[in-house]
Amino acid sequence: MKKILVQISTVLLMAVLVVGCSKAPKAELAAANAAIDSAKVVEADRYIPTEFNALQDSLNAVNVLIETEKSKSFFSRDYKVINEKLVAITTEIGALKPKAEERKAQVRTEVQDTLAILTTLIQEDKDLLVKAPQGKEGKAALEAIQNDVTVLDASVAEINTLITNGDYLTAQDKTSAAKVKALAIKEELSTAISKRRR
């Protein structure tokens, strides 16, 4: 009798274990989805799109695996590998977040550095405009340069808006373009001033 009870207990325990193992990994899946959402919050999809898209695709693939297992009869379901994959994906997405933040900060710093140089250059242009020969002969040229400096000021305003909106790559294009012009103005004014001194 004792022997039979032990056998029944063993069968029941095994059944519990089998049913336990065959449960879909809801918590792990939720964790992976939450990780993807938090990566989106730091714009990983924008700043490291290749890595982000690859992980998003891996998560989709795991979702397919989960449903494939669910389609099977309950006693043949096995979520062990899926669980491991989900844990690995969640870890990888977690690592993606600081990477995206780092890339974003890097691009932002680059733009802000170039913008700082541009702002200084524009100020230098303005200072040189005051020092430039103000006679009748230079009036038209100075007016033309003043117009260009006004265009550069407008450009800086646009760049700041782009930075505020987080569009650092477009901001970088604009900043580089404006920098070239600001440098050209500086050179033109410096030459005019040095000519007068000679």
């Binding site: 449903e67 038209a140 294009d173 373009a177």
Partner: protein, 375 residues
Amino acid sequence: MHFHKIRKKLFFIIGTILLLVIIAWVVSLFFQNPPTEKIEAGRKAIAEAIKEDAGVFSAPELNLARKNWENAMTDWKENNDKTPIARNYDRTITLADSAIANAQNALKNSIQRKKEFRKEIESALPVLRSKIAFIKTAKEKLPLNHNVWKKFTPAILKMEEVESAFKRNDLFSAKKNLESLTASVNEIEKQTTQLLTNYFGSYPEWLKLDAEMRQRSKANGSVSILVDKFSKKCIVYKSGRKIREFDVELGINWLGHKIQQGDRATPEGKYSITSKKAGRNTIYHKALLINFPNSADRQRFNNQKANGSISKNAVIGGAIEIHGGGGKGIDWTDGCVALRNKDMDNLYSLCSVGTPIAIVGSLVPLEKIFDLLPH
């Protein structure tokens, strides 16, 4: 005996369970297979499309593919929640098929559009560069503060942006800015061409005036002067031959006729020297006063006043001279013609009151000045 009964009962239960499992397994053989392959194919097709930047170049098609795939997954999940016998994957498969077709479409479109964008940008950039070079050349030759140039610096900045985006392979941004850049450059080019074409409409008259100046110097064996505004030259004819040529600087708005006082334009037409000034009589070393306005200038002024293109209170102006103080490398006068002082000495000595002088736009035709002029 009791033990034997229990064992028999147990074997019966286990046997029944086993039998039920076997029956369930046999029945399951007749169930519809799960749509794993189709769903997987959809996922892979979407991933491929994303890799080819379909999110940027074929977003509507890609979004449709994603939506259909997600709906297929939802349908599959809902079916999986049902008992196996009640599952029907037909809709899941239809949705997955649509997702595959949409994703393949997105991939194809994306590749095609990227190719088209690249080709369009690659062919547009040299044309724009050439147009900008033409405008730059014109800008260097024409008055600095003409309204046409106000849009030029923003266009140059935009051009740099497009090139920068193109270099970092951001075809979408490059293409987006290319449209507004092309419109802006085309507009400036059109205005520049129009400005030049309108101005050079008087070219035959300028040639006639030049011929007249040569002829008059030949007939009298005397000196006559011609100022070519475009090439910024003052030519001295004697006995029908060119004997001197000096560089000149003009009024800030030298392009076109002088219309009224304060427009800082250098007049065009046939004049003569009415007075020679030197010493305390001029602040510009030496000066030759001309008879501006002549009758043609007055007629033009009156016509423009009558048709309202200038103010009724406008004054025609005067005191146009050929004087010294030049050599500044820029057009700076209020409408006079400025020469370097040593050149002015030379010219002054050659001229007398009554010496004829013609001021013309150009002796060189437009086509020769601007070989960049687009056709």
